[in-house]
């Protein structure tokens, strides 16, 4: 069975060891950021905000913070791993190894998912010190975060293949991923936006991930949760197919 091949397991192991060796930077730093958000916006200022969908502001915010940590770290793991390997030239070790394109894509994605889900879990643990979190739809939540993490790992994978310099990657992170994340409803509900900006927000795919996670925990959502999950599954499928095809084509990896 493909997933049991030694090269596949080795590549997944390498990806996990890579971020584990610098865990302060890859796991603890995002957990620390989430803690500060919880303290400042949730604990200190949150009491001044009205309840949203019947939940205190701090409870409303936690699913957004979890999703933010999850997708950012899934993206960063594959993006930095592959870009550094390209920069140092060690990518040749993987490109000349007997690993299929599907295996390579899945192994990198799995590495990103483990880090992303790890950060998400850490944020959840930290949030318990500030507020209890209900779990309204566990299976839905698990499916959604797995595929959201898978999608962003693949996005990081594709971005690192495309990027030729670290600056290219910084541009993507700063001018695309960061605004989409903050404008995807981490800190607010769509209901507070004027109608025009509410419609604009519906084109932000991160909205569905954040809103879906919130539905999984709290059982409330701004958009149809079934549509959110279906959209994320579709995006994951498209990104996976694209990643395998790009890898097979040799684009920016093989001469």
């Amino acid at each position: 069975m493909m997933l049991l091949t030694i090269p596949f397991r080795t590549l997944v192991g390498r990806e996990v060891q890579r971020f584990w060796l610098v865990a302060t930077q890859t796991l603890l730093a995002p957990a620390m950021s989430a803690t500060l958000y919880l303290f400042i916006f949730g604990y200190s200022l949150g009491s001044r905000f009205p309840d949203i969908h019947g939940y205190p502001y701090i409870q409303f915010m936690v699913p957004g913070l979890i999703t933010m940590g999850l997708i950012n770290n899934s993206f960063q793991n594959t993006a930095s791993s592959l870009l550094i390997a390209k920069y140092e030239g060690s990518i040749v070790d993987i490109l000349t190894a007997p690993i299929s394109y599907v295996e390579m894509t899945l192994a990198f994605a799995l590495g990103g998912m483990i880090r992303g889900l790890g950060v998400g879990a850490l944020v959840l643990v930290v949030s318990r010190f500030f507020t209890p979190m209900p779990l309204a739809h566990g299976l839905y939540l698990l499916t959604l975060v797995i595929f959201a993490s898978f999608s962003f790992s693949l996005l990081g994978f594709l971005a690192s293949i495309w990027a030729e310099r670290f600056d290219d990657m910084a541009m993507l992170s700063t001018f695309l991923l960061l605004p989409l994340t903050y404008l995807g409803g981490v800190f607010y509900s769509l209901d507070i936006l004027p109608p025009f900006w509410r419609k604009v927000s519906l084109f932000n795919p991160l909205l569905y991930m954040i809103d879906g996670t919130r539905y999984g925990f709290l059982g409330v959502s701004d958009v149809n949760p079934v549509f959110s999950l279906a959209l994320i599954l579709a995006v994951a499928g498209i990104l996976f197919t694209t990643a395998v095809l790009v890898l097979k084509s040799g684009y920016r990896l093989r001469k």
């Binding site: 091949t5 390997a85 060690s90 299929s100």
Partner: protein
């Protein structure tokens, strides 16, 4: 017998299947033709040298075999398996040492070897890793990260990585570039030993003495095209030339007139007279007689066979190539181009 991955070992039961077969290989980068109709084979267990000046196409050829570059047209197979259609099989059979010092800075030397073995499907790499740590003298550095190693040690690690899965074919792209003489000699010994155990070796190098010392057959490539392919001894013999050195007792200021029609040159400030003579037709008695007539006493007289470096210079001179790594002078008269054999 099956290997770890369940495949039959290359060479066993494949009779005359070449270790590497390249047929009509073309590679273009835009309008630049990097390889032009290259065809040759390497036999199982052979030690093959690939020579050529910078930019001749050696690395491109190797990259196509290992999967780092895509061919424009032609066929490339390793032990009978196509490098594109059956890439997982061919890559498992190849251990490659790249020209550049590439490394993964996150891991220690030991961990790097274990990971690399895993990429190639080795289930229990421990014993092989231990063996290579000792053989490549990496033991004192096993727990250092690769960034902490010197250039020579990084080069050793690259070679250990290429050998860690016991590949039936080893490809080395200028493995001794920038290493000290002791490492160079110990690498030669390791390569001879590896080859004696049945591993086919394809070596590219700038050190022509290295190729002459190690390789059974040599291909010379220039501007993407093979200009010679033969046994090393045959290549040297085919140049059909000997070098005669006459050393006068005292330096002379001008070349004796009686030697000018033999295309002699005066070198080293008048301390040596050099002549290049035809291997079959030259008359050494005539040269000595003419020298005696000049009245210039000689203290030495040497006749040297052409070596591989002479062949290399001969075949690549005047075609935009550089001088060889050992710095011999180029500029001999070009002879009829040697045709590559297609054996």
């Amino acid at each position: 017998m099956k290997d770890r991955s369940g495949n039959s070992p290359p060479g066993s039961g494949c009779g005359q299947t070449p270790a590497l077969s390249i047929r009509n290989l073309h590679k273009s980068y835009g309008n630049v033709e990097a390889l032009r109709d290259v065809s040759f084979e390497i036999h199982p267990g052979e030690f093959f040298g690939l020579l050529g000046p910078n930019g001749a196409g050696k690395t491109t050829l190797i990259n196509i075999v290992t999967g780092l570059a895509r061919r424009s047209s032609g066929d490339v197979s390793v032990f009978g398996h196509d490098v594109v259609q059956d890439y997982r099989t061919t890559r498992r059979m190849i251990g490659a040492v790249p020209q550049e010092l590439v490394y993964d800075h996150f891991f220690s030397v030991r961990r790097t070897l274990v990971i690399h073995a895993g990429y190639f499907g080795v289930l229990n790499p421990g014993p092989r890793v231990e063996e290579l740590l000792d053989r490549l003298e990496l033991r004192p550095h096993e727990n250092k990260t690769v960034m902490q190693l010197s250039g020579g040690m990084k080069r050793r690690l690259l070679i250990a990585k290429a050998l860690v899965h016991r590949p039936p074919m080893l490809i080395l792209d200028e493995p001794t570039a920038g290493v000290d003489i002791n490492f160079r000699l110990s690498l030669w010994e390791l390569l001879r030993e590896t080859n004696a155990q049945g591993t086919t070796i394809l070596l590219t190098t700038h050190y022509i003495d290295e190729a002459e010392e190690l390789c059974e057959r040599i291909g010379i490539i220039n501007h993407g095209k093979f200009v010679a392919l033969d046994r090393t001894q045959n290549l040297v013999r085919r140049l059909n030339e000997k070098k005669v050195t006459l050393v006068p007792q005292q330096p002379i200021t001008a070349l004796p007139a009686s030697l000018t029609d033999l295309n002699a040159t005066l070198e080293d400030g008048g301390r040596r007279i050099i002549l290049h003579i035809n291997h079959n037709t030259a008359d050494l008695n005539d040269i000595l007689r003419r020298m005696a007539d000049t009245g210039v006493p000689l203290i030495d007289f040497r006749v040297e066979e052409a070596d591989l470096e002479d062949v290399f210079i001969h075949l690549t001179a005047g075609r935009g190539s550089e001088k060889s790594a050992t710095g011999k002078r180029a500029g001999k008269q070009p002879a009829t181009p040697l045709q590559p054999d297609r054996a």
